[in-house]
């Protein structure tokens, strides 16, 4: 049962990955006109130069040679991808997209990964407490406040934070991922600088993201607390903390866990707007720049990477879910 379940999920993700690659392949081709010619023209317009043969080839491999049929184009595309080749950045020619992505990836993983986990932890914890003490003053104040918080556009929060802490108070740097003067590497000063730069973006992400977790978790906890098994746990005379965490929270968490997995997958996509507000050198910013400069190969590459990461995270989440919820193994 368990294996069958996993196999089915795996099958789905494989299919989804193929679909994602297909979407990535089709998107530019669905747009009016022939994508590679459009890109070539764009490139010529931007640079005011004729596109060299090498660039043309790279573009053709990713975006298709108009003279080939679609199947042939897909084969070329898949072959290109199977070598880990996401094509060549048009704007940063001849740097491969993969290189640029790899450069930006650690930053995003660090910032968004850490904050996603933190926000989830904080939100879930507070949500459990609010749900456990539903109706208490703590809940009655925190929950509406959080409702409001989670409705505030997060780039707006980022702007305000930047203004207050970066500009008015000057506590945090205004942009970038680290102090450029320091040599990159595993030095203490460098780590401190990375933390210092990451603090504000991280804080704003956590600030605007934990509310959603809190609300979901609160309601799930409220529902779970009314389950018989929680009642029984109380009757068993276990300590309230144990009842709250092992019985109520443990079960209430299951639905948010799926969301958390998706969020983790989304990490690779970066906190787009926040990264932009803080000029944080992550994937989100990369995508934004690609978009602005119409660097289609870069857009496609980043998007493919994000999609595959999300798929992978979901797969991992499914696997983990099997461990978390024994019932799933039976249900399949």
């Amino acid at each position: 049962m368990r294996l069958a379940f996993l196999a089915r999920r795996l099958g789905f993700y494989l299919a989804a990955a193929v679909a994602a690659i297909g979407l990535n392949f089709l998107l530019p081709r669905l747009m009016p006109g022939d994508p590679s010619s459009a890109i070539v023209e764009e490139l010529e317009r931007v640079s005011g130069q004729q596109v060299p043969a090498e660039t043309l080839m790279s573009i053709r491999a990713i975006f298709g040679n108009p003279s080939d049929n679609l199947a042939q184009q897909f084969v070329d595309y898949a072959r290109q991808l199977s070598h880990g080749d996401l094509g060549v950045s048009v704007v940063n020619f001849p740097v491969p997209v993969a290189d640029l992505v790899l450069q930006a990836l650690p930053w995003t993983l660090l910032l968004v990964g850490a904050t996603t986990i933190t926000a989830f932890a904080i939100g879930t914890l507070l949500g459990v407490v609010a749900g456990w003490k539903a109706g208490s003053r703590f809940d009655a104040i925190l929950t509406p406040f959080t409702t409001f918080l989670s409705s505030v556009p997060y780039f707006w929060v980022a702007l305000l934070a930047l203004w207050v802490f970066g500009f008015v108070l000057g506590w945090t740097p205004l942009s970038g991922g680290y102090d450029a003067d320091l040599p990159q590497g595993f030095s203490f000063a460098y780590a401190v600088s990375v933390l210092h730069h990451g603090l504000l973006p991280a804080a704003t992400i956590v600030f605007s993201a934990f509310g959603g977790w809190l609300l979901g978790m609160r309601n799930m906890t409220v529902t779970t607390v009314r389950e018989d098994y929680v009642l029984l746990a109380q009757a068993k005379g276990l300590s309230p903390r144990r009842v709250m965490f092992r019985y109520a929270a443990r079960n209430a968490m299951l639905p948010s866990f799926t969301g958390f997995a998706m969020a983790l997958g989304g990490v690779v996509g970066g906190a787009l707007l926040t990264e932009i507000v803080f000029s944080y050198p992550g994937i989100g910013y990369l995508l934004y720049e690609a978009l602005q400069k119409r660097d289609y190969p870069m857009m496609q590459g980043v998007f493919l990477l994000i999609t595959l990461a999300v798929l992978l995270a979901n797969l991992v989440a499914d696997l983990a879910y099997v461990l978390l919820d024994p019932r799933i193994r039976a249900k399949g």
């Binding site: 005011g48 020619f93 102090d179 450029a180 910013y285 720049e289 602005q292």
Partner: protein, 522 residues
């Protein structure tokens, strides 16, 4: 933090337009659109344009030059004291190679190269041949995109894909350390132009807003960015050290009329609309008071000597009465917000670049037109790409676009009908499709002479055409914006007195600025 280390002499440049990371690509001529910044500190052109002197072309790596054959043959004498940073001498071979590249490789044909061939005359002289008289296009040799590169290195590379990670050039700097978020350039000790007062030039990426804080804190010494209300928010806080300077770049933000289609093929309509642009409102909201463009589009700061006295000091005010009279004279009426003549209605729209945030200024124009003429113009914002597409293809009625160039000829050159294409075909210049024999004649005459007085006369003729026939209508002057924190470095030029503009990215001017600085207190 940045700056005063043991090495001491560092100048920090905050770069705002390059995103968060830099790309190590020093192939000046390569096809990428994003390359390493400030390559002009490594690779230098032959000449420079002196904006302090009406945009006249001055020598740089070239020592002198001479036109012959009625402006069709240019002999350039090179400096003999120039070396590349690898120690090799800069010779005519390098110059011929460098100038020949765009001819030999059409891929590299940068817009504006008009010469047909290059030849070596002797070890320090090259001859450039044009197809037609080219006195007026000398400034192409001042283009930093036509730099002198070392033949011994470049000729062995595949220039299409080479990224030239360790550039060797004639400029005052070599690449010290390259990090995606910080570049340090090291000053050469054997630079032909003299000894630089600093040993290191550091470039950091930043955003316009972050830059402001960095300037205030003194983390950045020098940047090229506009600071609306900079006088109050920056300079006033320490007028001695906080410098915010505007240098006219000779051009203006203008409304271009699409003269290839009605109703803008009618001079009365153009005049009426030009008369009812509230330029003062625009510059007020831009927070650049007093920068309204004159009717000619030539800035007085730069072209004082060249301007027709009749147009000097003119600030065009909104004149609804006159504008209505113009419309009446052309037989136009405005009905329900549209221009009407002979039963045909025209409801124009104005194209602008949304990425510049120009929508709000477009609104000001639209409002004034509505208030003074009753004409309802639609705003049609487009992101950069679409904006340029539509502009070049002539798919617009009115477009807010920058005009400009070096020298009077440079500013007006685009009006030549030689650049004109039918609507639907891309034009890189003359997007307004201006087609006027008188204009063409004057422009052609300017190309054929380097006689300053004659050029001035011709220039005034062009000014008159622009003022009377209104192929485009300037709104406000464009500037080079310079932000400086002079805490560490002094000796900066000022707009009141300069012979080079302290603007980063201006090639030789940038170098001249650096050469002229002194460390404060030493």
């Amino acid at each position: 933090k940045s700056g005063d280390g043991a090495a001491g002499a560092t100048i920090v440049h905050g770069k705002t337009d390059g995103g968060t990371t830099f790309v190590r690509n020093y192939n000046v001529l390569g096809p990428a659109t994003d390359k390493a910044p400030n390559m002009e500190l490594v690779y230098e052109p032959l000449m420079r344009v002196d904006y302090g002197d009406g945009g006249v072309v001055k020598p740089w790596l070239a020592e002198s030059w001479q036109f012959a054959e009625a402006g069709k043959l240019l002999t350039i004498k090179l400096r003999t004291d120039v070396t590349f940073s690898d120690g090799k001498k800069f010779t005519a071979d390098d110059a011929v190679y460098s100038l020949g590249l765009p001819i030999e490789k059409p891929d590299f044909s940068i817009a504006g190269i008009t010469y047909k061939s290059v030849a070596k005359v002797d070890a320090s002289t090259v001859a450039v041949r044009f197809g037609e008289p080219s006195y007026a296009t000398l400034n192409q040799f001042a283009n930093i995109l036509l730099p002198m590169v070392p033949k011994h290195i470049w000729s062995t590379q595949n220039l299409n894909s080479w990224t030239n990670p360790d550039p060797v050039g004639t400029g005052p700097f070599t690449l010290g350390e390259f990090k995606p978020q910080q570049i340090t350039l090291k000053a050469r000790t054997d630079y032909w132009g003299g000894k630089l007062p600093m040993s290191t030039y550091k470039i950091i990426p930043t955003s316009p807003d972050a830059l402001k804080a960095q300037l205030l804190k003194g983390e950045v010494d020098w940047a090229s960015n506009s600071w609306a209300n900079g006088e109050k928010e920056y300079v006033a806080k320490d007028p001695d050290k906080h410098l915010y300077q505007l240098y006219s770049n000779g051009g203006a933000m203008s409304v271009l009329f699409n003269t290839a289609k009605p109703p803008f093929d009618d001079v009365h309509v153009r005049r009426a609309l030009a008369m009812t642009i509230d330029r003062t409102a625009v510059v007020t909201t831009l927070q650049r008071p007093g920068t309204e463009a004159g009717p000619t589009g030539l800035s007085e700061q730069l072209f004082a000597d060249w301007l027709d006295p009749a147009y000097k000091g003119t600030v065009q005010k909104v004149d609804a009465t006159a504008a209505k009279a113009e419309l009446a004279a052309g037989g136009w009426t405005v009905e329900q917000g549209a221009l009407v003549k002979d039963g045909k209605r025209y409801q124009p729209s104005i194209l602008f670049n949304a990425d510049w945030g120009w929508g709000n200024y477009a609104d000001i124009l639209i409002n004034t037109w509505k208030q003074s003429l009753g004409l309802q113009v639609k705003g049609a914002g487009q992101p950069s790409a679409g904006y340029y597409d539509k502009q070049n293809l002539g798919q617009f009625d009115l477009v807010a676009a920058s005009t400009g160039g070096s020298g009077v000829y440079g500013v007006y050159r685009f009006l030549s009908s030689t650049y004109r294409t039918p609507i639907g075909k891309s034009a890189t210049l003359n997007q307004g499709r201006w087609n006027d024999p008188a204009t063409d004649a004057v422009i052609a005459a300017m190309q054929r002479t380097d006689d300053v007085e004659q050029l001035k006369t011709l220039g005034r003729q062009l000014q008159k055409i622009v003022v009377d026939k209104v192929p485009f209508s300037p709104i406000y002057n464009n500037y080079y914006f310079v932000e400086i924190n002079a805490t560490r470095w002094t000796g900066w030029p000022t707009p009141a007195e300069f012979d080079h503009i302290p603007f980063v990215g201006m090639g030789p001017d940038t170098i001249l600025t650096l050469l002229g600085l002194q460390r404060r207190g030493s």
